[in-house]
């Protein structure tokens, strides 16, 4: 769930690709748009990354503000730790999602955006309740602070691993009879379905290129890191840019750069420049840690480990199994998008997806980064790990951290575990060459 402005302090010799500059510019523009929205007579709509209806929100001229993205920014800027403590001081439990606490703590501390200006109070909270229970409480909590209109859009869970007609009908009806009329009233703008269609056409274009980029990791060596790098790549499409020309341009640039890397047989770019020889191809399940994002990444690339596929980069939409936003069925397509995000899939679907990645991307193993305060991802991961080990015969690894609470990132411990995990892969490989079962 993420848009990241480039972390500061990148080694000076690293030359930024055009796509990186483009993203940096987009993000800066995004925050300026938010912080100046009210001055410019625009209204602000806070909503979540999974189930984010950017194409629709844009039809009403609303500016989209995503609290998870803000929490990630706080994490990367090493501010979230204090925000979390601040929220806990105000009575929020130490056990709950740290995104929420980072957001609430940030509010208590003046609500300052990454551009140094104050975030405006939202005019509407679009509670797209998709794939995570915490979302419901998060916006109930914000509603208490801002006392503004809150719109619930309930995405049913794919309990049986499929989207039923009833689920889709329910969502379309919510959109038609509840969400859209309310957004019309709040924005004062009449809904124009043709504008929505136009936006959806743009989404699909960008999605096409994103999928190409993600699937480029099937190459050996992989030209991208599909987790740490992937988090940058999903930024525009998971955030406020899906359905915009900017996103189309960003993904075009990115694709061209990755194409060039494939042709040149080069591996991924890391904060320290090109990665060395690819030694391990890993599939990762679970969100990353943001407070020590670069240290965490370094633990991989220093060992020659590249992540070839990850589930986290599907949390704001699963596109690599064929879904595209569809202008011919605009509302149904928005419904299917929400219903299909990774955390709205049931556990067997999640296992199938990871198994598919293990095979399609010829990975050496599955590594889970289990997030302490995220039940949506974490509950059930140990069984998922076993299932994947059983089905693929490849070793699984397990580390624990938190998204934005630095107290739960223990570098020595994680590094140790990763090193032993990579050794395990080596052993498994040598076992294989000798024809001995591990």
């Amino acid at each position: 769930m993420t848009e990241i402005t480039t972390p500061k302090g990148a080694s000076p010799e690293v030359i930024k690709d055009d796509s990186m500059w483009k993203q940096k510019e987009m993000m800066a523009g995004h925050y300026d748009r938010i912080t100046s929205a009210h001055e410019n007579g625009l209204k602000v709509c806070n909503t979540f990354v999974p189930g984010n209806l950017n194409e629709l929100i844009r039809c009403f001229g609303l500016v989209n503000n995503l609290p998870e993205v803000n929490a990630i920014q706080s994490g990367l800027r090493k501010k979230s730790g204090n925000f979390v403590l601040e929220a806990e001081k105000h009575g929020h439990s130490e056990d709950v999602c740290t995104y929420v606490k980072s957001d609430i703590g940030m509010m208590e501390k003046g609500n300052i955006a990454p551009n140094g200006k104050k975030f405006p109070d939202p005019d509407v909270l679009l509670l797209s309740y998709t794939g995570c229970f915490t979302f419901m409480k998060w916006f109930e909590l914000l509603r208490e602070q801002y006392d503004c209109e809150t719109i619930m859009l309930h995405t049913p869970y794919e309990g049986d691993g499929k989207i039923t007609k009833n689920m889709r009908d329910y969502m379309v009806k919510q959109l038609k009879d509840d969400v859209i009329p309310k957004l019309e009233r709040i924005s004062g703008v009449k809904f124009d379905i043709d504008l929505l269609r136009e936006n959806l056409v743009k989404s699909a274009k960008a999605e096409e290129d994103l999928v190409w980029v993600l699937q480029s990791a099937k190459n050996k060596p992989s030209p991208i890191d599909a987790y740490f790098g992937g988090i940058y790549y999903i930024g525009p499409i998971f955030g406020a840019f899906r359905g915009t020309d900017d996103a189309i341009e960003y993904y075009k640039l990115l694709r061209a750069e990755v194409e060039a890397r494939v042709k040149a047989g080069r591996g991924p770019v890391t904060p320290d420049g090109d990665m060395g020889k690819e030694k391990y191809r890993i599939v990762v399940e679970g969100p990353p840690n943001y407070t020590s994002f670069r240290d965490f990444w370094k633990m991989f690339y220093d060992e020659g480990a590249v992540v070839v596929a990850s589930s986290y980069t599907k949390v704001g939409g699963v596109y690599d199994f064929g879904f595209r936003h569809d202008p011919t069925n605009p509302l149904e397509s928005l419904a299917d998008y929400c219903l299909g995000v990774y955390t709205n899939l049931n556990l067997p679907q999640r296992v199938d997806m990871l198994e598919n990645y293990m095979n399609e991307y010829e990975a050496d193993g599955l590594l889970i980064n289990s997030i302490k305060s995220c039940n949506s991802f974490s509950a059930g991961q140990l069984l998922m790990l076993r299932e994947i080990e059983k089905r693929t015969g490849k070793p699984g690894g397990f580390v624990e951290s938190d998204l934005v609470d630095p107290r739960y990132f223990s570098p020595a411990n994680i590094k140790n575990r990763l090193e032993s995990y990579f050794q395990m892969i080596d052993q498994k490989r040598s076992g294989k060459t000798k024809g001995v079962a591990a």
Binding site: H90, Y129, K137, N375
Partner: protein, 389 residues
């Protein structure tokens, strides 16, 4: 042993029996019988009953069961109930259960539904979703259709159709059950010295394993007998306990509150037993009626969305007024998203209404009750001081 003691003892036996002997016997009594388990917080038990099956409430393993395998499935920062429920499953204690329903309450139980599918592929397993939109032709239609799908699933499991007549008959029985449970709660609120919280809990909990017909009979008898008992009225303060709607507190925790000087005059334990606040009408389409009851006359709990800020937490404020309670004790399972995320909002509603509260956390296997007893005792004392001042 008095008649009341006998009922209480039977309820305790049922509570302690983690092999579910009563439900096993019910199943064995006639060939072809089926048992369908369900987890907190709400499923329409009427539909399971109408299918000729026994709804069996599964609420984890409590503090009596050693969790040997369950811990291998969960990280330390996830609540206890899913791991002890897995333990019940992998240890064979649920090997007679033909179906499992996992209601929409939180992501842990949601994900457990998928784990169950992977681990017990022969069991009919369904994630039971409910609407968070309460408009009749939006959330209402969706939910009616979900109920119809549940009916279909159970018909397939049971190998027979469920008729409207059977549904009505079951709704009537559960209307009666809910009315009786409400009567127990009213009785306790009026004369808490005659209805110890632990006894009330065990009585209602017996309904998780017994057929509803038998449970109704049991409650009636319990009410008659409890009315007759003479127990001393203590100088306790009246409290509502909130946050207990999923992972169960140890029985000792409930007892400790009373020992610490608190009469529990309401709680959110075992909510399925009184989820629907009014009788479900018997005329008309039964599924539509169940759906309407859910939308417009159901309990408030942290797993449900509250559409307006003004209404948030008011169910608790109203309960305090209705029960003449003097304070609220928030007891929440550690790592419980619904209870813990909701708590600050409920507390701010109480603050505005000048209602005192305290909060602590527990786990189903918490052993040490002394700190909780001390905290509750201090709370009770301070309430008394305030009321005297």
């Amino acid at each position: 042993m008095s008649a009341l003691e006998k009922i209480n003892e039977r309820c305790l036996d049922l509570f302690e029996d983690l092999h579910f002997k009563a439900a096993r016997e019910w199943k064995a009594a006639e060939p072809g019988r089926k048992v369908v388990g369900f987890m907190p917080v709400y499923v329409p038990r009427e539909i399971i009953h109408a299918a000729g099956m026994l709804p069996l409430g599964i609420t984890g393993g409590g503090d009596q069961m050693e969790v040997i395998h369950g811990d291998a499935y969960y990280q330390s920062y996830i609540c206890r109930i899913p791991r002890s429920t897995i333990e019940l499953g992998v240890s064979g204690r649920l090997d007679f259960v033909d179906g499992m329903l996992f209601p929409s309450i939180c992501d842990v139980i949601r994900n457990l539904s998928g784990m169950w599918k992977l681990m017990f592929p022969n069991v009919y397993t369904r994630y039971f979703d409910v609407p968070q939109n309460y408009i009749d032709d939006i959330g209402g239609n969706y939910y009616t259709q979900e109920l119809a799908e549940l009916v279909e699933g159970l018909e397939e499991l049971g190998g027979r159709k469920i008729t409207e007549e059977q549904l009505r008959n079951s709704i009537a029985l559960y209307n009666e059950n809910r009315a009786l449970v409400r009567e127990v709660y009213d009785f306790r609120s009026k004369q808490p010295w005659k209805a110890p919280a632990a006894d009330v809990y065990l009585l209602v909990r017996a309904g998780y394993v017994l057929p509803v017909e038998e449970h109704n009979k049991m409650i009636r008898e319990w009410l008659t007998e409890s009315e007759k008992v003479d127990r001393p009225l203590r100088d306790n303060c009246r409290v509502i306990v909130a946050g207990l709607f999923c992972e169960q507190p140890p029985l000792n925790l409930i007892k400790s509150l009373e020992l610490a000087g608190c009469y529990v005059v309401d709680d959110d334990l075992l909510l399925v037993s009184r989820w629907l606040l009014e009788d479900v009408p018997l005329e008309g389409d039964p599924l539509h009626n169940l759906s309407q009851a859910f939308l417009h006359h159901s309990e408030e709990t942290s797993a449900k969305y509250v559409p307006t800020l003004a209404e948030k937490g008011q169910h608790l404020v109203r309960a305090v007024a209705k029960r003449g309670a003097e304070g609220v004790i928030f007891a929440s399972p550690s790592f419980c998203d619904p209870a813990l995320l909701d708590r600050p909002m409920l507390q701010s509603a109480l603050k505005k209404a000048n209602i005192p509260f305290i909060a602590f956390k527990y786990a189903e296997n918490s052993g040490q009750m002394q700190p909780i007893r001390e905290q509750a005792g201090t709370f009770a004392d301070s309430i008394k001081l305030w009321s005297e001042a």
